[in-house]
Structures are given as C-alpha cells and as structure tokens.
Amino acid sequence: MPAPENRVDEATVADVSTSGGALVPLRRPTQAEPPADPRRSDVDEWGRSENMRALARALYGPIYRNWFRAEWEGLEKIPREGGALLVANHAAAIPSDAPVIMHGIEEELGRPVYGLAEHLFKALPVVGTMWSRVGGVAAHPENAYRLLREQRQLVLVFPEGTKGTGKTYNERYHLRRFGRGGFIEIAMRAGVPIIPIAVVGAEESMPIAFKIPAIGKALGLPYFPVTYNQLLLGPLLGAVTYFPAKFRLRVLDPVSFDVPPDQERYSKSRIMDEAENIRVALQENLFDMLRRRQSVWFG
C-alpha cells in the first residue's frame, strides 16, 4: 500500500499558495529521521485491511468459483500499475457485482481495488465497518481523486448508483441514467483512463419482485425491496442467499480523455457526452452478451 507522497522538496515549496497569501520558500532544517510509526494493524487510511481482505478472499473464493462461476473476458485491459477508474453496470437488491469484480481483479492482478459506495454505508453499524475493511470507500469526489491521482490505485464505481440496484426484475439489463457524469469528471481531473466492465449475471442473482416505498422511507433507505429469493426461500434466508446465476464479465477498451488533469472545471457538455458514450458502449455489450447467453444458470 503506497503511502501518499509526504515529503516535499524545496522546489515545490514555492509553488504552493494558500488562501491567506503566497508561501515563501523557507530554509529547510537538516532532514531529521522520519518519525517512528508504531502501527499494530494494517488498516490503511481508507479503512481497508489487506489481512481482512485476504480472509474475505479466502471465504469468498468458493462462492466466486463454484456458485457464480465467474468468467472474465479482456482482463488484460486492466493495467497492472497506475490509477484507473473501473466503471460497471449495477444490479441485485444487495449488489453481488461489486464483490465479484473486486475479488476477480485482486486474485488475477494481485493489486487492490477500492470500491466506491453510497455514503449511507458508513452510517450502518457493523456493515459499514466490514465494508470499509474489505476495500469500500465512501463515494466522495475528494476520496476518488486522492486514490486515483495521488495513490495510483484501481477504483471501482457504479455510476447508476442505487438506481441500478433498485431495478425490478422486468427492468433488468436496462442501464439507468449515469448520474450527472461525476465519474467522468473525476477521471479527467485525476488524469486516469476509465475502464468499463459489462457484467451479466448479477441481475438474476437477487432480482427484486417489488418494492415497499413506505418502509424504505421510514428506514431512510433508498429502496426497500422484496426479492424473489425471499419469496422462494423465506424472508430471512432469502435476504442473504443469491441465486446461482452464471457471471460473465467483459472488460471493454479503456477510455482516455485528452484533457489536462487538475483543472478547476471541465466542459459539462464534454462530460455528458463521454458519460453517454460509455453508457451506450456498456449497454451494447450487455445486449451482445445476452444474445450469446443460452442459460441464466449455465451461461
């Protein structure tokens, strides 16, 4: 886990200006030893712990291999180093796509993936903590920028957000609006490519039969679903059991933007165009994958 660049040299000191006035380069004292850092756990600044992640991978491996039988196409398009923003379609009442993507890439490429998620996660006891230990980060633009630009990590984001996971079964594989294109702006600002990933299988792993808006509202949740899993397996077992849908994931060609990073603002129309291009590419690939799919369960 590379630490953010902390030490600065004299040249950069002069470049920085603060709200209160320009900084002047100062005589730097002789470089002292860096202070000791007596850490005991490996929880990083984002709350991710590689040990916990390894444990999660060990537990999740059998589900990934034997239950979802995930198969990748084009995994080599994901860079082995440097920052990149992974963008995928989002589905299932409790999203099953994020763990599959994160597990697959970490196993195959051996590098961490940070998954951006709704802030609401952070407010949930136990779940929020577990989620952050296995690589979840609140989807704040500032967090994404730091991860991508300064720490050159892989970051996964679902631009549909809860609109994607809250789809009912009859709306499956129809991509929702890609927010306001915030993910494009972040990639531009961070100067990293966007790598779209089309996921087939998540939709059928925990499809929503219907939603109860009143309960969702009362609990402060974006939606309160009743899933087919629950109708079939009962309210409790059904809430935690996915159907064994076959997962296929296709990595599309990386999209790079020919704009300088670290700008204050980027053209809104360019952002919306790029977001729409990526949405269309994902949608077409999904339809293509579905055309080839013979069975929901066997692919």
Partner: protein, 348 residues
C-alpha cells in the same frame, strides 16, 4: 530587537506550554501571559497578568506592552470542562475582544496565531476521508463548541481581511495525545475498558502535544499566513488505539448513543460529549501536507502520539504522577523577575 509576545490562556495547558517554549527562544524578548487564573507550570521570565478577556483591559495591555505578536491559545475545544454559556463567552466573546484590541488604531500587533481545532470540519457519514484547509463542513455544526469555533474562524477571516499588514495564521489541530494532556479521550483510554460505539471502528488521527507547541512556534517564527491543519501522519482505527493502550473496548449502543452514554457522565466515569461520540462513529482525517510544505517536520505520527500516551500512562499506573506539582506564589515570582537583589543573565 526581539519579538514581544502576548500569550492568552496562560493558566491553561496550552498557554503554559507555549510560554514555556517561548522562554527558551532567544529571539523572544518579552512574554506577557494573560490568564483568568494563576499559571500552573513554572515559568522563568513570562509576565503573568490576571485578566479576563474584556475589551478595555485587552486594549490597554496591548498598548502598554507594545506586543507585536499574539498567540491566541485560549480557545476551549473540550466542551466537558465548562458550561456551553461559559464556553461561548471565552471562545466567541473573548476572541472578538482580542481581535478588536489587536486591530485598534496604532496597534503594534503584526503577527497573530490562533489555535483552533479539527472540530470545525465536524464528523458525519458524508465527509471525505481527508479534509483540506479550503474545504467546508458538510453539515452545519450541532454542538456549541463546534458552533463557537466556526464563529471564531469567521471573525478571524474578517480580521485578516481588514488588517492586511498582520500575518494571521489559523491552526486546526487534530485530537491531541501525549504524555501530559488530559482530554475526554485520554480519560476514556484510562478506563478499564475503552468505550466504543457498537459496530463502528472509525479511523482517527492524532497529534502529539509536542508537535502542537512546536507548530505554534514554527508559524510564529516563519510568518506563514493562512489556514493550516496540524495532525500526525496516518490514521488508525479506534480499536487499534485501545489495543496500543492495552485496553479492550466496551461497546455503547449505536442507536440513542447520547442517552446510552449519559450514565457514564452522570457517574463521573467519562464524559463523552456529542462531538466525541460523532468522532467515535465516523472518525476524521485532516490533511497535514500544507503545513509540511512550509518546512515543518512532525516528530510524531498519529500512531506515535498514541504510543507516547500509552507509555506515559503505563508509567503513571506504576509510579503515580511523575511531574512535580507547582504552585504559583505571586511574591516569589515577582521577586525573581524584578528584585534588584537577583543576579540576572543579561537579556538575550
């Protein structure tokens, strides 16, 4: 000619510490310490004035002593120490008067350093993992201490704008740990079980008390205007903090947490104010790189500050209080400072 410095809150932990450090600085010609009570640590040459923060007194003191530098350390960030009304009086009214005195016509003040807190960023689930100085909090402040600090920073911005000839530095500190300081967090970590909130284990950031004093001295000496976060490198989960202090955690209910924590304060076990409960739920990280870019070097990381506190409290557990107690005797202090009978070193 050396610097002439006014330190506020001389009787408090920070005022005393800062004055003590300044005494060792040969570039500081004279130190006046303002306090509502007697100093609690031994000082060599600081002149103590017992005064409240009222405007007329402050103006007279500034004028009479011709101080060119004010170090305003007397902002209360620990809301368990006093009532909300008192806190407002000290933080908001006190600062307002101080700024008014410093901006009076023909005021000699050219440097102003204010010790604020990371509390101004708040702590909610919608916050970024790291706060930079130019960012503003996501929710309006709920607690009195946060509100008062936000107000103080507002006054300070106005002051800096109206007085461009004054070098104004605002320092926002992370939670402080160290060998001597006492805060609700240190109290919590000295209980048999450290309180936590069930299901939450947020990343926290700390700064060592030495680095706090050093950073105040640093910005004063180097004249760096602006806002700076001051915090050790890195963050660590609360459970790890407790483990480093040889403690297990005791979980408090995540719902109605304020109610669940109330008996602890009623029984005088530990007072966990709302802003601290928020911190134990969501944590906070403040980006310390701007201050580093001015050349400041921290001696402790966040974990280092925790370790230092843990070692000091292990020692205290075994041998009791190690610092010699000190009582201020006005006559004795005046004798040493002003009596012709005392052979003094020539002024540095």
């Amino acid at each position: 000619m050396g610097r002439r410095v006014l330190v506020t809150g001389l009787n408090t932990f920070w005022g005393g510490r800062v004055a003590q450090t300044l005494e060792a600085d040969p570039d500081v010609e004279m130190i006046v310490g303002l306090g509502v009570d007697e100093p609690t640590i031994e000082l060599e040459r600081t002149e103590y004035v017992r005064a409240d923060q009222s405007y007329s007194i402050l103006t007279r003191i500034v004028k009479a002593t011709q101080v060119d530098t004010i170090l305003h350390t007397f902002l209360v960030v620990d809301s368990t120490r006093m009532s909300g009304r008192q806190l407002h009086e000290i933080n908001v009214i006190g600062t307002m008067n101080l700024l008014a005195a410093a901006s009076a016509a023909d005021s000699p003040v050219r440097t102003l350093v204010v010790k604020s807190s990371g509390l101004v960023y708040g702590s909610t689930y919608q916050d970024p993992a790291w706060w930079r100085e130019e960012m503003t909090r996501t929710h309006p402040p709920k607690t009195r201490v946060e509100r008062s600090l936000v107000e103080v920073e507002g006054y300070l911005r106005d002051f800096a704008e109206d007085n461009p000839h004054v070098c104004v530095t605002l320092l926002r500190f992370a939670n402080v740990l160290g060998t001597d300081i006492e805060t609700p967090i240190t109290t919590a970590l000295q209980l048999p079980l450290a309180p936590s909130i069930l299901g939450f284990d947020p990343n926290l950031q700390f700064v060592h008390e030495t680095d706090v004093v050093r950073s105040i001295e640093w910005v004063m000496q180097n004249q760096v205007p602006g806002v700076f976060n001051v915090a050790g490198d890195g963050k660590l989960p609360w459970s790890e903090v407790a483990a480093m202090c040889d403690k297990r955690t005791f979980p408090i209910s995540p719902v109605l947490t304020g109610w669940a924590a109330a008996p602890l304060s009623a029984l005088r076990i530990v007072d966990l104010p709302p802003e601290l409960l928020d911190l134990l739920r969501y944590g906070r990280g403040i980006d310390n790189r701007r201050l580093k870019m001015t050349g400041f070097e921290y001696r402790y990381t966040s974990a280092g500050a925790v370790e230092s506190f843990a070692e000091a409290s292990r020692l205290r557990r075994t041998v009791g209080e190690t610092r010699p107690s000190y009582r201020y005797e006005r006559d004795v202090e005046n004798f040493f400072r002003h009596s012709p009978a005392v052979v003094r070193e020539p002024a540095p």
